[in-house]
């Protein structure tokens, strides 16, 4: 416990010194003539943030530049990008990432809507929702450990124990090493092990979807639903044709947010896919693997650019949707 004090004191002293300098400069600015005072004070308030933002802008530009370098830091044109789109292993990474984005998003959003709908108005609703929401609080590394335990081939592995209950002589399943899709090895579909890891992220993201959707569903005016029912709509019709279209904006928010999270998935591949072995790698994981363990900074930078390009359209859809929702209200 004592160990951490010097370090925290260091941080405190740093922040304190920064604040002191800011207050000092602010004090000096009051001596300036009116015209200059406001500008100087704006500078004092903005300067630290602008420095940190430059720490984001300049590296991002440099990264783009590095992505054209080869392993030794020599400019080599589009070689890295060519590699990404032609190399067999890289294409597995791209394939996995697209499946991740699609599968996890569709399933966790649907599950979220389903649970939010079923739990709506239920006695004990807050408890049920809290239980489902709980995984969002823990780290992906923690989630990976929890689920490694579930998928374990040992005697204590929950899934293997259930599997052995099935009639017949069931051999031990090595879930996380199964790179085939039910025995099929195709370049278009990831192995079952990737899907098993996706289940874990669905487990995390569904809680987020549930809580957001649940809040949206409570905001649907009840007379709207009543009116539909008086018009003869069944419970199901009212939900799919009235309620769901009404909360469309929220559904898009949940889906786009999930896609962005999933595209950046890294920790869970490290914990459950052993850093991307058995064909489990994804773009963000590959970026790390190439840049650091493989020490190929050029290729790593190129993967980062690929990630950026994948995230970009989703963010646009997200912000377009946010604006539309605000205007709708």
């Amino acid at each position: 416990m004592i160990d951490i004090l010097p370090s925290l004191l260091k941080a405190g002293a740093g922040v304190g010194a920064l604040l002191l300098v800011m207050v000092g400069l602010y004090g000096l600015s009051r001596l300036l003539p009116d015209r200059w005072r406001e500008r100087a004070q704006t500078g004092v308030f903005l300067f630290p943030a602008l420095v940190l933002l430059l720490g984001l802008v300049i590296p991002a530009i440099l990264n783009l530049r590095y992505s054209f370098d080869n392993r030794n830091g020599v400019f080599s044109g589009l070689t890295n990008y060519k590699h990404i789109f032609t190399d067999r292993e890289s294409r597995i990474v791209l394939r996995n990432t697209l499946w991740w984005a699609l599968f996890v998003t569709v399933v966790s959003t649907s599950v979220g809507i389903l649970i939010a709908r079923l739990a709506d108005g239920l006695r004990g609703e807050p408890i049920a929702k809290a239980l489902i929401f709980l995984p969002t609080a823990i780290s992906m590394v923690g989630a990976g450990i929890i689920w490694n335990f579930v998928y374990s081939p040992s005697d204590f592995g929950l899934l293997n124990s259930l599997w052995r209950l099935l009639p017949g002589d069931q051999g031990t399943q090595y879930f996380l090493q199964d790179r085939t899709f039910f025995g099929l090895r195709s370049s278009w579909i990831p192995g079952l092990n990737s899907f098993y890891i996706m289940v874990v992220v669905i487990w995390i993201q569904a809680g987020f979807a549930t809580v957001v959707m649940s809040a949206a569903l409570k905001g649907v005016p009840s007379d709207l639903v009543e009116a539909a029912k008086i018009d003869g709509a069944t419970e199901r019709q009212a939900f799919f044709r009235v309620v769901l279209p009404y909360v469309r904006g929220t559904v898009i928010t949940v889906a786009t947010t999930t896609v962005i999270t999933v595209l950046k998935i890294f920790d869970i591949i490290q914990t459950m896919g052993r850093g991307g072995l058995f064909d489990t790698s994804t773009v963000a994981n590959e970026m790390y693997r190439q840049a650091f363990p493989q020490n190929n900074k050029g290729l790593g930078s190129a993967w980062a650019v690929i990630l950026f390009v994948l995230v970009l359209p989703i963010v646009f859809v997200n912000s377009w949707n946010q604006r539309r929702m605000r205007e709708g209200n």
Partner: protein, 314 residues
């Protein structure tokens, strides 16, 4: 929301005979109550399903090593006599790269507190400037900050690391301070964005009144704006704190020596090195999760708000 949405309601009415629906018949009522019952059952089944993996790990963590290895945790439910906290005691002393796991737990604390607070403090000043100070190009500049939300932090890892290990960066700030700076940089756009949304929506008359009374920007900021922004600051702090606490990537890249790494990284190494030592992994996993779980259970309202707001983080 808008008329287009409500308009979709009307075609529904043409699908069924109104006479049937205004007074539900017996069979409809049976179906409906069944539907409610099934729904209730489904919710609790799903909630149980969602809890079982975590519960399994927790139960395992309080069983003796021999028991964990030889049979499933569910056997504990029928025979809870063999309960022990040995795993927890042992895991804290388990050495990873020459340091006990407790060392990495404290590393996480050292990383997470400044890593959460620095960007919020600096962001609050900037958010005030973007809301209540007048300068040329303010809106353009703010749009630029918003645009930075799009940049995935992966874009900055390699160049930032080059800077941190290059000649212009002081040696005294190597190691954990690099992780603080990295988190502050990556958290900056979201902190400015969220705090500006909040601070900018404070009533302008109050700020104006203070100005008329002769208060300067610093006085208004510290005496008026910060106290009014406590809910927003609390939600953002919790979000950013948990984000940093749970982070693996930024720490792995910037912390340098293994002994500077946080708990997440140490546990990941443990999964690799000691994949068979489940008694240590179960307890270690829970030590790592304990703080997020406490925050989640005690501050759930702020947690939800922070998570929703922070979901746009780049």
């Amino acid at each position: 929301m808008n008329t287009a949405d409500t308009a979709t309601a009307s075609p529904v009415g043409q699908l069924a005979d109104p006479a049937v629906s205004t007074r539900p018949g017996f069979s409809t009522r049976v179906v409906r109550s069944l539907d409610g019952g099934v729904g209730k059952l489904a919710v609790w089944l799903l909630a149980a399903l969602w809890t079982i993996p975590t519960l399994g790990l927790f139960i395992s963590s309080i069983r003796p090593q021999q028991e964990i290895r030889t049979n499933g945790w569910w056997n504990w439910i029928t025979d809870p006599s063999q309960t022990t906290f040995d795993n927890y005691r042992r895991v804290l002393d388990t050495r990873q790269n020459g340091r006990p796991l407790s060392h990495y737990f404290f590393n996480t604390i050292q990383i997470a507190i400044p890593g959460a607070l620095i960007p919020i403090i600096i962001g609050a000043f900037a958010a005030y400037a973007f809301s209540w100070m007048h300068f040329k190009g303010r809106d353009t500049m703010f749009l630029f900050v918003l645009a930075l939300l799009v940049v995935p932090l992966q874009m900055c890892l390699i160049p930032l690391l080059r800077f941190f290990t290059g000649p212009f960066y002081p040696d005294a700030l190597q190691g954990i301070p690099m992780v603080w700076f990295a988190h502050s940089i990556f958290g900056m756009p979201i902190c400015i964005f969220l705090l500006r949304n909040f601070i900018g929506s404070l009533p302008g008359e109050v700020i104006e009144a203070a100005r008329v009374d002769g208060a300067g920007h610093l006085t208004i900021f510290t005496r008026l704006v910060l106290p009014l922004s406590v809910p927003a600051l609390a939600s953002l702090s919790i979000f950013q704190f948990l984000w940093v606490w749970n982070d693996l990537l930024v720490a792995k890249v910037f912390a340098g020596r293994q002994t500077n790494h946080p708990m997440t990284s140490a546990m990941l190494n443990m999964v690799g090195d000691r994949g068979q030592d489940w008694h240590l992994l179960t307890a270690g996993g829970f030590v790592m999760m304990i703080v997020p779980l406490i925050v989640f259970l005690s501050l759930q309202r702020y947690f939800v708000r922070g998570l929703l707001a922070g979901s746009v983080k780049g």
